[in-house]
């Protein structure tokens, strides 16, 4: 069973008013378990909108969205996915461990289970020792890792990431890419990842969905045939550069459309 199945999804904002915006047009996409899908495209092409549709944070104007074989709405109620935003969105009144415990707390786990699970996750994102720090005491990269730990807390089959590393500097971003790749392998979670960065998309993905400028349509899907696990060496492989070039050319086409 596919993790996400989008068929003929359309999204129009302000459909009745004069300044109506067609954000997405006829999106068809099927995502299989364990895939890492990057959504890339010009600004305002509806990548984030697509992510929010899958997460049932907004409803499509038309079309069907299935997540784990059920409606996106039901999947949200069942908390089938975890979400990571561009900003870490940690609650400043909670320590790091309490932030990671939040989704477990809302699900009614016992206090000991919450703490045990949160500690495991903080170890996974290499934040052990920072449990009792407050968000403001951590760097941007560390905060984002805490946000990833929080998204993974309920062991979701699907992780939705909306430009999670967009606000980080290049070095931190590359390091976070390595970390995320490792986490993806260890947890075998399916990931949908919105990004502006071609290198990031190529390094992380199994498939890259290139979207066109508004109205957002799927222009091309690039398969990334780079061996797993990937590491620093991946960025020096010929296949890596070829894929990068392919995506870049499609992206150029996307902007001109």
């Amino acid at each position: 069973m596919s993790v996400v199945a989008l068929s003929n999804v359309n999204m129009t904002f302000n459909s009745s008013s004069a300044n109506k915006t067609v954000a997405l047009k006829e999106i068809n996409l099927t995502i299989e378990p364990g895939e890492f899908i990057s959504l890339i495209g010009p600004s305002g092409c509806g990548k984030s909108t697509l992510l929010r549709l899958v997460g049932d944070l907004i409803k499509p104007t038309a079309g069907d969205i299935l997540v784990n074989g059920k409606s996106a709405h039901q999947a949200r109620l069942d908390q089938d996915y975890g979400m990571v935003f561009q900003a870490p969105v940690l609650f400043e009144w909670r320590s790091i461990i309490k932030n990671v415990m939040l989704p477990l707390e809302l699900r009614g786990y016992s206090r000991t289970d919450q703490q045990k699970r949160a500690r495991e996750l903080l170890a996974l994102v290499e934040l052990n020792g920072f449990e009792n720090h407050y968000p403001w005491q951590l760097s941007g990269g560390m905060q984002q890792r805490a946000a990833i730990a929080r998204a993974l807390a309920i062991q979701p089959k699907l992780l939705l990431m909306d430009e999670p590393f967009g606000a980080l500097d290049e070095m931190t971003r590359e390091y976070m890419n390595l970390e995320l790749h490792k986490i993806w392998q260890e947890t075998q979670t399916t990931i949908i990842f919105v990004t502006h960065s071609i290198p990031e998309a190529v390094f992380l993905s199994t498939r890259i969905v290139v979207m066109s400028a508004r109205p957002g349509e799927i222009l091309h899907i690039t398969n990334v045939d780079l061996p797993v696990p990937r590491g620093e060496h991946t960025r020096e492989e010929a296949a890596y550069f070829e894929t990068e070039t392919e995506v870049r050319e499609w992206l150029r086409a996307a902007k001109q459309k």
Binding site: G82, F85, F91
Partner: protein, 257 residues
């Protein structure tokens, strides 16, 4: 020790001001009913200490009672307005109208309603004065929320009540403490001024006006000192509670590190 060092300039300024005051009064032989020297006020303060503390406590209770009634009503109305748009649309205009009314003008009427000797008449005036800043600030804190934080809670399929408890209320706390601080000062002013319109004789406001009417201005000054001290202590208590309640807030971080 650190505190003394930090506040040394302020303490010095206070002492210098007292010395200049005392010196000016003596040098220019300013009459006692115009401006009594600090030493004269101090003598009056010591001579009338028992009576002053008694009436001071009487007025303080009015201020505290009004503070409690006004703040709790303000918070309740804020909760209602942030929860139901209808409540917000219905109540907000009245709240704004209430704020633009010079509430103290109602003192004689409230005296008539609740009985001029009944402390409740003064408490009600204080309550109406502190209500507005309390309500507006709480509404702000409950509604000015990072949209991503709300999306995060929605991704957990959290109920409105859970969102209120886990996100809106903690987010509102810093705003509410600002309001408490304003309300603490306002409540003492409100209590003393409302007493100017008559009432139980053992009250600061009544004492100040009566002693002034009999040209014993040094006694009025001594009573004002009591009012200042009470207002200051009230404010400091709120400040202390704030440190206990929201040590994570940015306004308090600098003092920790």
């Amino acid at each position: 020790m650190k505190h003394v060092k930090q506040n040394l300039p302020a303490i010095l300024l206070f002492i210098v001001a007292l010395v200049i005051w005392e010196g000016t009064v003596r040098l220019l032989s300013i009459q006692k009913f115009l401006l009594p020297a600090p030493s004269v006020i101090w003598t009056s303060f010591r001579e009338n200490f028992d009576r002053l503390t008694y009436i001071g406590w009487f007025t303080t209770r009015e201020a505290l009672g009004g503070f409690a009634i006004g703040c709790s009503t303000g918070i309740l109305v804020a909760l209602a307005t942030s929860r139901w748009t209808l409540a917000s649309e219905t109540l907000m205009p009245f709240a704004i109208a209430a704020n633009s009314v010079p509430i103290i003008a109602f003192a004689p009427i409230l005296n008539n309603w609740f009985g001029i000797d009944n402390p409740l008449s003064k408490m009600m005036i204080v309550a109406v004065i502190v209500f507005f800043p309390m309500m507006i600030n709480t509404v702000r804190g409950l509604t000015l929320i990072d949209p991503a934080a709300l999306e995060l809670m929605r991704s957990y399929a959290a109920s409105e009540f859970t969102i209120l408890r886990k996100l809106r209320l903690p987010n509102a706390l810093p705003y509410m403490f600002n309001a408490f601080k304003v309300a603490a000062t306002l409540s003492m002013i409100g209590a003393v001024v409302s007493e100017y319109f008559g009432g139980n004789r053992s009250a600061l406001g009544v004492f100040i006006t009566q002693e002034a009417a009999q040209f014993r201005f040094q006694n009025s000054w001594a009573a004002i000192i009591i009012a200042c001290v009470v207002g200051l202590v009230f404010y400091l208590v709120i400040l202390g509670l704030e440190r206990l309640a929201i040590p994570w807030h940015s306004s308090l971080r600098a003092q920790q590190s």
